[in-house]
């Protein structure tokens, strides 16, 4: 696979040919009496990537692409049906069984209104990881640490006594971040952390996350559907479609030279606010069609029904990865050199 390169070359997180299936068959009795076969949803399909220490890998895609499932796989909330996940060199399941390693990873969620227990005070919410991992002893030490974390995310120490419903969406995300940081993790999985926030609040949260990454040497797996946000946050980027990574590589390279047709269309579909392109509003090139159901994906390359470059081979044969520059792409058109400039 060979794309783990970072400044010091240390790989913190590794996913290797990870596949996750969900059983979406009908009820057992009906299946048996009607002779139906079991049906599986391939939420994540042969996904491989590595994340270097201190860097940010973003996974981007639209609904049904499997990025949220991948986030849950990364923290061990699901187990992969096939393939392996490794954290700090150890298999994830083993790492999570050990409190010392489990402490080093945590997660930030999308919905600020559902990610904090409404009946708990904020201080208790933030202190939960501290208590769970037995990191500090005594109420006073814990209270001091909670106050420190609140200040670190831009809130007041007195906010610890309040309940979540007394805060706005942006403030709740800050509390979530404080909770995630309280166990002093190295690795954070961020599942669309700003998608539910207003633009100006999003700016504050993204800035905060970048500051924290620099100061605490954090490694992020950043899930998002918003390419502009991803450009701002990530070092490396993987574009997902129907469970597969179709293109993965350094963010700068993918944004300047997008290769996979889906990546290109995704970039084209984003409205353009740049002043020099404004002239009455550039009309986008809408992508044809919609994302098909992940339960019955199209054969061959799953993007072919919507792809302007699809040929017979695309309809039958699933493309393998090839290297182009520092990027890996899975596309027959790219492999055959049929990509327009």
């Amino acid at each position: 696979m060979g794309e783990a390169a970072t400044a010091d070359g240390a790989t913190l997180f590794e996913a290797e040919h990870v596949t996750r299936l969900f059983d979406v068959s009908g009820p057992w009795l009906r299946r048996v009496t009607n002779g139906e076969k079991q049906r599986f949803l391939r939420a994540v399909d042969d996904v491989s990537f590595t994340i270097g220490r201190g860097s940010t890998l973003a996974l981007v895609g639209e609904s049904g692409c499997g990025k949220s499932t991948m986030a849950r796989l990364a923290v061990g909330l699901h187990a992969p049906s096939r393939g392996a996940i490794r954290f700090a060199g150890k298999p994830l399941a083993a790492a999570r069984a050990e409190a010392g390693l489990r402490r080093r990873m945590n997660m930030i969620f999308q919905d600020p209104y559902a990610s904090l227990n409404p009946r708990w005070r904020v201080a208790r919410i933030i202190a939960e990881p501290i208590r769970a991992f037995g990191m500090l002893g005594g109420a006073r030490a814990i209270a001091a640490r909670v106050a420190e974390l609140l200040v670190q995310v831009g809130l007041q120490p007195s906010d610890g006594e309040k309940f979540p419903h007394e805060f706005s969406g942006g403030q709740r995300q800050r509390i979530s971040i404080a909770r995630a940081l309280s166990s002093e993790p190295e690795f954070l999985v961020c599942d669309e952390p700003t998608s539910a926030l207003d633009v100006s609040v999003q700016a504050q949260i993204l800035n905060l996350m970048r500051d924290l990454q620099r100061r605490l040497d954090l490694t992020y797996l950043f899930i998002s559907h918003n390419l502009a946000v991803v450009r701002h946050m990530s070092d490396r980027l993987g574009v997902m479609y129907l469970g597969r990574i179709v293109e993965i590589g350094p963010a700068e390279e993918i944004f300047s030279v997008p290769r996979h047709p889906y990546t290109r269309m995704l970039l084209d579909a984003i409205p353009d606010l740049a002043p020099d392109r404004m002239a009455g509003g550039r009309s986008r090139v809408p992508i044809a069609g919609e994302v098909p159901s992940p339960i019955t994906p199209p054969p061959g390359c799953s993007f072919h029904p919507r792809c302007p470059l699809a040929n017979a081979r695309c309809r039958e044969e699933r493309p393998e990865y090839m290297v182009a520059g520092a990027t890996r792409v899975a596309c027959h058109a790219v492999a055959e050199g049929r990509l327009p400039a």
Partner: protein, 318 residues
Amino acid sequence: MSAPATKARGGIGAHSPGPISRFLDSDLWYNFRRSPVAVIAGAVAFLCIAGALFAPWLAPHDPFNLASLSLSNSFLPPVPLAGSQWAFPLGTDDQGRDMLSAILYGGRISLVVGFCSVLFAAVVGVGTGLLAGYGGGVADAVLMRIADVQLTFPAILIALVVDGIISAALHQLHEATEIYIIVFAIGISNWPQFARTVRGSTLVERGKDYVMAARVIGISGPRIMLTHILPNVLGPVLVIATINLAVAIVTEATLSFLGVGLPPTNPSLGTLINNGNAYLFSGQWWITIFPGLALVIMVLSINLLGDWLRDALNPRLS
């Protein structure tokens, strides 16, 4: 990078209002104050409960002290009818027991039985609902089928059957343990309601991100159920418990009326009604009517309170 100690000490726990002032400031209390039905029902229920709790101090006589009873006092009508006495304002029964005192003590028993059985049903029901909702899979299927099967039978029938079986099996201990058997029987007949509601709420909460956040750091299932999910599913439980209290009191009264409930030596309102039934049409109507009225008032006020609570706790549109 640590904050100075003074800042931390001064900051935490400084000025957030305590639970009592939060309640007084809440929408729920405001709603209560503005609803005449709720206030009246609440006041009546409160009086019933207070009267029953403090029966030993409030009752003018002790109706169960056989030494103080005198048959010469029997069948006295209530004030202000002819032949009544102020010492026995609501009249007396066939044994000379003061009706007012009997009602106070009887109401006490009714309330205690009702309360304890609801508590029992709630604990069993909430526990089952949590397990079924959080655990899912086989546990969920089995537990909910048991609840479903039980729900096909009328609750009173189940209470009757359970009470009958246990009483028959333990007939030599019958007298002293009767109250425990009744509480158990009524509790067992009412748990499925709690279980189904809590299971539904648990399923909803289980999918929320804060539960996932706890799982990510490795908090165990039982701990998540108790500390995270339970506080969030108790809202509807309170409503069901209030309405169930009324049901439990009536169930117990029914069982006692049918003669399989509490014995006459330690009568509840139902037993009193049963006792007075024989004299209803021979002219001494007060022996059965007054306990009946007391039962109706108590149950009605609790029911109305429960109805109001259900509407008030419902997220509304306006």
